[in-house]
Symmetry: C2
Subunit: 462 residues, 2 copies
Amino acid sequence: MASSNNARESALTFARSEQGRCLDELKAFLRIPSVSTESRHAADVRHCAEFVAADLRRMGMQRVEVMPTGGHPSVYAEWLGAPGQPTALVYGHYDVQPVDPENLWTTPPFEPSEREGYLYARGSSDDKGQTHIHLKAAEAYLKTVGRLPINLKFIIEGEEEVGSEHLPALIRAERERLRADFVVISDGAMFDRGVPAICYALRGLAYWQIDLVGPNADLHSGVYGGSVANPIEVLAHMLATLKDDQGRILVPGFYDDVRDIDPAERAQLARLPFDEEKFKRDLGVEEVFGEAGYTTLERRGARPTLELNGIWGGFTGEGSKTVLPSRASAKLSSRLVPNQDPDRIGDLVEAHLRKVCPPTVKISFTRMAGAHPALTPLDHPAVKAAERALQQAFGKQPVYEREGGTIPVVATFARELGAPTVLLGFGLNDDHLHAPNERFLLENYFGGIRTVIALLDELAKQ
Amino acid sequence: MASSNNARESALTFARSEQGRCLDELKAFLRIPSVSTESRHAADVRHCAEFVAADLRRMGMQRVEVMPTGGHPSVYAEWLGAPGQPTALVYGHYDVQPVDPENLWTTPPFEPSEREGYLYARGSSDDKGQTHIHLKAAEAYLKTVGRLPINLKFIIEGEEEVGSEHLPALIRAERERLRADFVVISDGAMFDRGVPAICYALRGLAYWQIDLVGPNADLHSGVYGGSVANPIEVLAHMLATLKDDQGRILVPGFYDDVRDIDPAERAQLARLPFDEEKFKRDLGVEEVFGEAGYTTLERRGARPTLELNGIWGGFTGEGSKTVLPSRASAKLSSRLVPNQDPDRIGDLVEAHLRKVCPPTVKISFTRMAGAHPALTPLDHPAVKAAERALQQAFGKQPVYEREGGTIPVVATFARELGAPTVLLGFGLNDDHLHAPNERFLLENYFGGIRTVIALLDELAKQ
């Protein structure tokens, strides 16, 4: 369509000439410390939602609204001026992970800094930078031809990093307003630098904390040592029962609902240009480690995990305090694959830990977050449109891959809206997500904007 | 001896009438935050040494000196005006443990507070309160009759809580000045409230830290989970190999040098008025736990331990951070019994941990403190004098017991001075040593002063 091609070209030209301003706006977005898990940042999270809403209004989106939830708000916007064309719902999140240990950041986490083609800041890749791509792509159409090729809705939430606790209820309540033919999300990674990817599977998540209490106070390890259970020792023994030395999870029933990887998919994963030696070099490890019988790529995307995220107890300061501690705790979580259910896995893990806990300590088990795994049909027209858009923007055919991470909302969109999700990640796997020195490759940020400009046009009915 | 009895009575009368002042002085001593393990308190430790020296000068001790060491100083004083009489060396320490977690203290650790007959403060029992007993007993003689029944020396150190690193060299260098017929130490506990005790055995100590490093940065548990070793998981598996479920230490060779408890001693320990139900109630535990085949009292004093003192790694804050951590660490230590050697036990533990450490992580092992165990001859005249003094002051025959804790210097005094040590503990086992709300029973403080006044006289040759 000539007219469509003209609109696309206008948008692309605008995006190219406005790169400096877009980047400045992204930096302003990144300066807001919207750490959703820390209550002291509640006002910053709120401020960040208002920041996003203001940008959506400025670019010409309609019915822009900061929607209250039981926790941090979500931002909604729509543009429905293309009757007869499909409707896409773009999801993103403006909240970010905590920054500790802050002393390991080369530059402060909320002062964006450019180095060697990367933009360093908390949230630069996960997910402010990738959300911003969609805002700026829509803006490029609205500010040039005054319309979009298709109907578009945005839902940008503020609780992704704390398990999207209130989002399912919001989606249920606003089902009619959010109705769309498909969902588009950019909250993941390309396969590698220069190798764009479309992700067709996400892992789910279940997260728990276990707290053990032995004696009712910290004790002198000389006076009491050897005569009463040590909660750290008990915890180590309990945690050691979770997995064998071959990386196989030993919780009874854990694998019952896992859908096997079929041979065709194994073959396709094996063809991906994955360099295991480089992977080890990048992580600084001598050897990889994971479930026996599976490759690293299979372990990262197609198999479930049981990972220890944190542990603490007793004296952890400088020097040598001879204490027999009263308490010990750990945080642990599972990444789930189809058809595992986070509640059922929580039941199994809790039952196992309670069973292996001796009567010498008191145990408490807290469930902290849960999300279902998800799969996307590969033959959906929106998936094919995304493939063409990535090809045009990055000059390379995208690969299809599984994502090891979790976007809890994908399963919710499937259930509540009946809409499949197209996952277009513009991050890289070494973006240091959830870690010090998070970064986002600037060529992916600008390439992402070009991709989404092309995608919006490719999605229009010819 | 009538004159001696008169002196003793004068000293006892003085001590009784001066109780209020003595307690005020002890509180001033306790207000100094002399935490030897924390470098930020170095000036406080120094100030505390000067405080002790000033008190010794004021009461009339001679050659008072704050002796430099490679670390925190020791305080020396002597009174040698009783030719022909034996010479006792009193050892104590003016340094204290750290106070964390400070939020669990009912009243601030360095603001002494009296409640229900106890004095609460860091160091109240370990060991400022018990050291103060000896100062005030000597003062009671010097301020009344102007002389002591025997020759007396003090060595009060400032590094006991960090393993007395520099004390052995000081004792070696000052061997002539420190020469004594026996050593008296109060840095332990009575058997129970109203049941005084003489301790004839101390456990030694060896303390270590283990640090594991896996990937070179904290990783996203979704992107990487399942494909690379998790240092917390590795640490839990390694620590679980240290002991079996029956409390038996599995480090090869660990028990090789342990002297068995002989049947007579087992019988004597079994006769002690120990109430295991009360012990469990006091600690708030449903069951005791320790090495199979031994009683609680045997486990606490006569058997070696391998205890986890601290553990940390990954995310330990509020909420749920989905991180696969780069590092995990633990502090652990052994209480040693005759004839175990701290260096050899360190070699065995290190060799075991290195052996069970997989190649997926890097391990480092740090040795932090070491002390030999010690035994005292029960038939020494000073031991018999102590028995009579305790009987007189507390109206009850003392029991003889093993102490689970460590006073590193006892083995050093035996080696360097050839002097046996008499261990007179005036604390209680629930004094919350090394823990929040450390306390000292005031009736033991004042009873301790009366005991030592009697002891100094009982030690004089009749």
